[in-house]
């Protein structure tokens, strides 16, 4: 399959990228990992006249802690595999490394990028759910400067984000907790076969506080994959957990809430809406149980 002809640019500085985006507004696409864009172009579902390849742009591929130690900063061109294998991510935001490792297949993870995946806003994408669970933000650079967009505002609809024409994602930031906090996350998804898009997926992040009568939930983040027109936040489910003692019943209630607020559709390949809704509940429960177990183990061992 051959895409339509296009003009190709490979700038090395972000200023050149934004310049090119402005110059060719309306008919230009940014090429990052290409794992979604190139298949779309080959199938001619997308036929941009201009391609701006950002793979040679310096300073977009990094994983580091912010100076105050309260956030993990991830360059937009960072590959899934780097996030999957980074010791810093495993230590400071393990949910992200689990989500990264579940994307596509190894070759796709060697090229695909976090910024590209978020910009694509595929409801079956894994990053949207994970970043919702940890309440991250997307930094966008455009003609009028840089702005930080909370993930809830960033994901607008299927294949639609809050990015304006001419804007480029430069980084993703994720708040982190003090080392030793009793926090745990999990990303679980149901696939028909290895590497397939999710039938349903759930990202869950919990922070627990130990009190006399048990562990109380001080933070809950739940993001859903392939269970609606975009990656959804299960906010009713989160509300069932925060401030409460984390019991089996609380988790069950949250799982039912997530199933109710999911909005899956029937599809001939991956099942009916009814089935997916059941999976939303089941996977939310499993993800919360795993996140809670990890939080307890994590807190018990102190900073890992």
């Amino acid at each position: 399959m051959l895409p339509r002809s296009f003009q190709y640019f490979a700038p090395t500085a972000v200023e050149e990228v934004t310049g090119l985006l402005k110059e060719h507004e309306g008919d230009v696409k940014i090429l990052a990992g290409g794992m979604s864009l190139i298949p779309l172009m080959k199938m001619r579902l997308a036929s941009p006249g201009y391609i701006v390849d950002i793979n040679r742009v310096k300073g977009l591929e990094y994983i580091e802690e912010s100076e105050d130690g309260k956030a993990l900063l991830i360059g937009s061109l960072t590959r899934h595999h780097s996030l999957e294998s980074s010791p810093l991510v495993k230590k400071r935001a393990p949910l992200l490394s689990e989500a990264a490792g579940s994307i596509g297949d190894p070759q796709v993870r060697n090229l695909g990028t976090i910024g590209g995946a978020l910009a694509h806003s595929d409801p079956s994408g894994d990053w949207g759910a994970a970043i919702l669970a940890v309440r991250g933000a997307v930094m966008a650079l455009g003609p009028s400067g840089e702005r930080s967009i909370p993930i809830d505002d960033f994901l607008v609809d299927t294949f639609t984000t809050a990015l304006k024409e001419g804007e480029l994602i430069t980084r993703v930031s994720v708040p982190t907790l003090p080392e030793g906090a009793k926090s745990g996350g999990a990303y679980l998804k149901l696939e028909r076969k290895a590497g397939d898009f999710a039938t349903a997926g759930v990202a869950a992040q919990l922070v627990l506080e130990e009190r006399k009568d048990g562990d109380y939930c001080t933070y809950a983040g739940i993001g859903l994959t392939a269970l609606g027109p975009k990656n959804l936040r299960a906010s009713n489910a989160e509300a069932r957990l925060v401030g409460r003692r984390l019991t089996k019943e609380a988790i069950s209630e949250a799982a039912s809430a997530a199933a109710s607020e999911s909005a899956p559709t029937d599809d001939p390949l991956r099942g009916t809406a009814k089935y997916k809704r059941q999976m939303a509940g089941l996977f939310t429960r499993r993800a919360l149980e795993l996140a809670a177990a990890r939080a307890r183990a994590h807190g018990g061992r102190g900073a890992r």
Binding site: F6, A10, G34, D53, N55, V108, G195
Partner: protein, 164 residues
């Protein structure tokens, strides 16, 4: 039709060609460079038959434009054997363990195994299965492929120890 020059180092040898930006890397490798060991299978990023190493990382060459590889280094299946024709330990292991039947997926499997064993020189069976999960084989049921990768890992470790 605008063309751009692509200069790449393929299996240690420099090549330069004028190509259209829309030319896919796999077609560049096969049609422009004549290296037909890299196969086109599904052409949709699923099957992994077109797997090559780009600057040492395994990628699916059907899902990359040739112009993206400009200035970079590529290894294809043709670059695996030694200059004297001696097969790479991974190739030998596939041969000895019947790691192929029709052979269509084999170049991609070997290249993916090469990346996997560089990342993780002694993978468990589960790690091998996950490591080749982006490569489809419709003949073997994967059993002997997994065995081949395991044997290759052993052989390469023994070889590395011998060199020390």
């Amino acid at each position: 039709m605008t063309t751009l020059q692509v200069k790449v180092r393929v299996n240690g040898k420099e090549s330069a060609k004028e190509v259209e930006p829309r030319l896919l890397l796999v077609h560049f490798i096969r049609d422009e460079l004549g290296l037909t060991g890299t196969h086109v299978g599904c052409d949709t990023t699923n099957c992994g038959a077109c797997t090559i190493l780009l600057d040492g990382k395994s990628v699916k060459s059907c899902t990359m434009f040739a112009v993206q590889a400009d200035g970079r280094s590529i290894t294809t299946i043709e670059g695996m054997q030694a200059a004297d024709g001696e097969l790479h330990p991974i190739q030998k292991a596939f041969w000895e363990n019947h790691g192929l039947q029709c052979g269509y997926c084999t170049p991609g499997m070997v290249m993916q195994a090469a990346w996997l064993l560089r990342e993780n020189p002694s993978p468990t069976e589960q790690e091998i299965r996950l490591g080749i999960s982006g490569n489809l084989c419709r003949c073997t049921g994967y059993q002997n492929i997994v065995k081949s990768v395991k044997e290759a890992a052993k052989a390469m470790q023994t070889e590395a120890k011998g060199r020390r």
